[in-house]
């Protein structure tokens, strides 16, 4: 056992004693949501999710197949199913849409014209897919730290989000690995959308 573990253990025991003394029960469980994370290869999906889980994004290799991560936030836990973006894997994406409550689409703002077009086609297919069309979308224009990155305005125009995604719930945000606060803020907005949808479902 390392010293760090022992310190954690003592801190946690202090916290629980404090709660017991103040006559509070155990801390309330956070709501969980199932999301699917898609985007072309190299857009930065695995790196973003690793960094959100406080892991180092340096060791991240290309995702082959899919991987599942539980990303904790202050007011929710997101169970994200991240799908690889290589050409030979994209055709399997629709298999994993079942049961999702939201979609995260990551794109490389500094990619070539051809790649951007491919990303646009994939986003449009996802927006129109029967299992995803009613769900909230978080679209992250990633790699904003690169000099060749296109701005959010340009991306919104090129992807025709206003006309195509009208009536659907979506958020388009710039993102980069350097700015975790902005990223967490984008996710908070997504969580609000997910909570709203939950409330609506309960009312119905």
């Amino acid at each position: 056992m390392s010293d760090l573990r022992i310190t954690e253990a003592f801190l946690y025991m202090d916290y629980l004693c404090f709660r017991a003394l103040c006559c509070k029960g155990p801390p309330p469980a956070r709501p969980e949501y199932d999301l699917v994370c898609i985007g072309l290869t190299g857009s930065g999906k695995s790196s973003l999710l690793s960094k959100l889980c406080s892991e180092s994004p340096e060791n991240v290799v290309s995702t082959t197949g899919f991987s599942i991560k539980a990303v904790p936030f202050q007011n929710a836990i997101l169970n994200v199913k991240e799908l690889g973006g290589a050409d030979n894997i994209r055709k399997y994406w629709s298999r994993y849409y079942q049961g999702s409550q939201g979609v995260i689409f990551v794109l490389d703002s500094a990619s070539s014209e051809d790649d951007l077009e491919t990303a646009r086609n994939e986003l449009h297919s996802a927006l129109q897919h029967p299992q995803l069309c009613t769900l909230p979308f978080l679209i992250l224009a990633n790699h904003q730290d690169k000099p060749a990155a296109r701005s959010v305005q340009e991306i919104k125009k090129y992807f025709e989000l206003e006309p195509l995604a009208r009536g659907k719930r979506w958020i388009l945000q710039p993102s980069s690995l350097d700015d975790m606060d902005a990223l967490k803020d984008s996710f908070s907005q997504l969580i609000s959308l997910l909570e709203e949808k939950d409330l609506e479902a309960m009312r119905m």
């Binding site: 056992m1 573990r5 022992i6 253990a9 003592f10 946690y12 025991m13 629980l16 155990p26 290869t41 190299g42 340096e58 060791n59 991240v60 290799v61 290309s62 082959t64 197949g65 899919f66 991987s67 290589a86 050409d87 030979n88 894997i89 399997y92 298999r95």
Partner: protein, 334 residues
């Protein structure tokens, strides 16, 4: 509440064990007249069990000299051994074998740590298309894997034939950097027959026959399509980079200590690491075929199962993963 109790028990157990262990060491020293290092060297035969026990003993010792001896420079090993013998009041003339044994162990221990540093340095170096040496290595990789097919252009769809994801392999090296390319090239060059076999299989893996229950579930046309999909499933280069990731994690977590301490009588080197990679590639390929997954989407599940199997094998202290195969001319048999 359960969580709290479990933490409490773990903390108490830790302090109890540490205290008890120190008492045991004191008693044993008085009974046998030998310190722990001597007892280990005399009772355990050379190999991973001995080296690992020595390493644990040195690391957990109260003496600063012993604690820091696991991270000395290789040139300072002899002096460190002399200092240790002096500290423990062991006469080198009466116990000549002890000095030699300790030196051999320390060489391996320090060598493993240095190997981790070397491997990390390679991993952190990103692939640079402006660097002529990197470019040459990449082109050589193509030549070894596809000796009869010339590469049309540096950026071309042909790279997909050896399992890269796009026109330019540069982006696929993320995460493992130059280490990925080094390993793939080593595999393709030193173990050419196996590498080409694995490549060829990955493009046309074994297709299993349809079972009775599947006949009712899928129509014949759907099944034919599924069989074709399987043939395009497995990407040689990307899987190679993932296996490099696996080998790297095994090295850094210390799981490969059993293997290296058994096969490398002196310090483990990068060449040993690359040979281990070749073994893991070959084994993973056989494992993939055995598991017979539906398609590439099951990759992470199969990889995780494979990793657990290797870790279980490595828990046996007499284990050496790959004593015999073509790339390992430099290895000594167990």
């Amino acid at each position: 509440m359960k969580h709290f109790l479990r933490m409490l028990i773990q903390v108490c157990l830790y302090f109890y064990c540490k205290f008890l262990w120190r008492c045991m060491k004191f008693v044993m020293r008085k009974l046998t007249g030998r310190c722990e290092l001597q007892r280990i060297c005399y009772s355990t035969k050379p190999g991973a069990s001995r080296t690992i026990k020595i390493e644990t003993s040195l690391r957990d010792s109260k003496s600063k000299l012993l604690q820091t001896s696991v991270s000395v420079h290789p040139d300072a090993i002899e002096k460190t051994i002399d200092d240790i013998m002096e500290l423990k009041n062991i006469n080198p003339d009466i116990n000549p074998q002890l000095g030699i044994s300790l030196q051999a162990c320390l060489l391996q221990i320090v060598g493993y740590r240095n190997l981790i540093a070397d491997v990390e340095k390679l991993r952190r170096e990103p692939y640079d298309s402006d660097n002529p040496q990197h470019e040459e290595m990449l082109l050589k990789l193509w030549q070894f894997l596809k000796p009869n097919t010339p590469l049309e252009a540096r950026i071309s769809k042909q790279w997909c034939e050896i399992g890269f994801q796009g026109d330019d392999p540069k982006t696929d090296f993320r995460g493992m950097g130059l280490l990925g390319l080094y390993n793939l090239r080593f595999f393709a060059e030193r173990d050419a027959t196996v590498a080409q076999q694995v490549l060829s299989d990955s493009l046309h893996p074994k297709c299993r026959d349809i079972t009775k229950e599947e006949i009712s579930k899928f129509s014949k046309a759907e099944w034919e399509k599924k069989r074709m999909d399987k043939a395009i499933g497995y990407s040689f280069a990307i899987v190679g980079i993932n296996i490099t990731d696996l080998a790297y994690n095994l090295l850094v977590s210390g799981a490969l200590k059993t293997h290296f301490y058994n096969i490398a009588p002196e310090a483990p080197t990068l060449s040993h690491f690359q040979q281990t990679f070749c073994y893991l590639m070959h084994e993973f390929h056989k494992f993939w075929i055995e598991e017979d997954p539906m398609d590439i989407m099951e990759f992470n599940r199969v990889r995780e199962k494979f990793r657990k199997r290797i870790i279980k094998q490595l828990q046996n202290p007499d284990m050496a993963l790959c004593p015999h195969f073509a790339a390992s001319e430099g290895l000594i048999n167990m």
